[in-house]
Amino acid sequence: MNQKKFKSQTFPQGGVHSADLKLSADQPIQPLGLPQTVAIPLSQHIGKPAAALVAVGESVKVGQLIAKADGFISANIHSSVSGKVIKIEDVMDQTGYKKKAFVIQVEGDEWTATIDRSPEIKRGIAFSADEIRAKVMQAGIVGLGGATFPSHVKLAVPEGKTAKCLLINGVECEPFLTSDHRLMLEHGEQILIGVQIALKALGIERAMVGIEDNKPDAIEHLKDLTKNYKGIEIHPLKVWYPQGGERQLVKALMNKEIPPPPKGLPIDVGAIVLNVATCFAIYEAVQKNKPLFERVVTVTGSNLKKPSNFLVRIGTPIQQLIDVSGGIPEGTGKILSGGPMMGKTLLTTDSPVTKGTGGIVLFDETQSHRKEMLDCIRCAKCVSVCPLGLEPYLLMAMTDKNMLDRAEEERITNCCECACCVFACPANRPLLDYIRYGKTTVLQRMRSRQQK
């Protein structure tokens, strides 16, 4: 494919290049059959778990609100199937911990009446900014790129800050994953309408869509479509991990640096970042009254028979997705939820698909083990690939030696856990394992200090 067609941008500091491995890029999105039971966790987002509204034994319909957002940073949960709630119990989800979930026995497929199931595209936006925000909140939309931050919070610009530009993340920089790619190809127009809705909610005019140039078809397709949509620009980006990270995307597209976390947010430089899948969900929620209860999930892996992209109801057991793609291949050693750079390993394939599940990646036994850890040879690879200008080797040593004050001075809390350092380390050191632990400990200490 000719990649030199566009002039591609990227961010300047750090980053790595890894193989594409987009095995399922040519597979159209197919709806997955209804499961027999679903398990819908109450906490599928950052923030407080939602509060349950239905009890065991009650019947629910597709799209019915079953748990209500508990507080501002929280999100509604809707039933993805029709049937009966048979129990509410702790279910192992993809984080590796047990969480409270509705277990629903599926009976038929009866949707709530308000949902518009017609296939035609609704273009005109008939709602005010407040109405849009209310609808987005009602639909329980969260960031579908993986961070699962409630979207209505993002669409409400805090006082004293001004939004200048909406950035749409179509980067999909993780190897293997193709769900956003397929969504852009198949529902490009809906995504752009979703972007316009978001623009209206924010009261701004300009949106930039960043897409990595290993998806030239998606770039072309959206570029054609934007002729009818004013204010939306398509920007090809160089393939460079972790470009899908908020900070890197803002740097690549706007050449601005977001101040470090936990205080710095994209809005500090006038940016709002939304994922393409989130925009699609916003379109469906606002124009079609359809709450977020299904999403596109990539199921892939080098040995998998049929790497595919599915439209999946939230709560479907992951095992079912793998079965339809040809079953777990012989000698599978590791199954990931999410991409190989930031994804989490599954303890069991009975875990349900949640709002944050972008992909399932199966690894062969031979690829699923780390190599023996050696002494640090101080090659400085980790320092040069860190996109945030940290020194991973130092942070690891400090966490190991419990020097958390120094680690805090060295900005351990800035780390975005992109894992470039471990990717590049020639001595196979688990830098990020330590840094992540150090970071959580330091953050806890900072919080307890504030409370004093």
């Binding site: 590796g96 390993t345 303890l347 688990p430």
Partner: protein, 298 residues
Amino acid sequence: MMSPTLIYTILVLCAIGVISAVILFFVAQKFKVVEDPRVDEVEQALPSVNCGGCGFPGCRAFAEACVKAETLDALYCTPGGNECMAEVARILGKAVVEQEARIAVLLCNGTCENRPKTARYDGAKTCAIAASTSSGDTACFYGCLGLADCVTVCPFDAIHMDQLSGLPLVIEEKCTACGKCVTACPKYVLELRKKGPKGRRVYVSCMNKDKGAVARKACNVACIGCNKCVKECPFEAITLENNLAYIHSDKCRLCRKCAPVCPTGAIQETNFPARKPKEESATVTAVNENKDNESEKI
């Protein structure tokens, strides 16, 4: 004849030496720190392992605290024990409360046999990080992770990993109950308990708070919260909370009635003479006893 260079060199060096000595003398006078001589004496009496079990950063700090404090009630050096504290009390002319000797006890018996692995952990080899990664590599969320953080922190070399069981073993003679392992354990499966007469102890060796069926599925020797031991205990020393029984060592009279009724063998008894072979649970306890004896031999 000595050459003049040599003489000058010697003279200059001597002069430098004398001047430095004078300066040092005055500096030493100026910055002299007056310290209670008893601090040194107390420090001498302490085991000087700097374990921090007393809550002070090292033995010196503890000694200073002892000298300053009006009574020794809140101060106790666990590694030194009663003898050491008696000596400290003698030096300072204060009274000291004797404390019963304690020991670190592992509240998990999830050996490789009892608790099958449901996943293989392949990350940094420390419990702290493993505990923050996921719910562990077995179906029991509460049990020992077996990555030996307690062994690393122990200043007395009193904990070793048992290769067969994958669990840490506390060596009774070496453990001083400083409590470092207890704070280091991210799963809270180590507890300081009374050492007991002749080292005899009865305790529930499990921390699993899941419901009985779930706990049993995860581990053969889990406490399933069946309440049998609570009913059996004549001294009300056992309580049940969150599907988990706990034996309060201050109420327990070591009658050992609870152990035979436990359906999973989660109750451990150490250093008791073997029961008569007629009784049902003899095999379980005998095995456990053997293990404990082995650990003492090491």
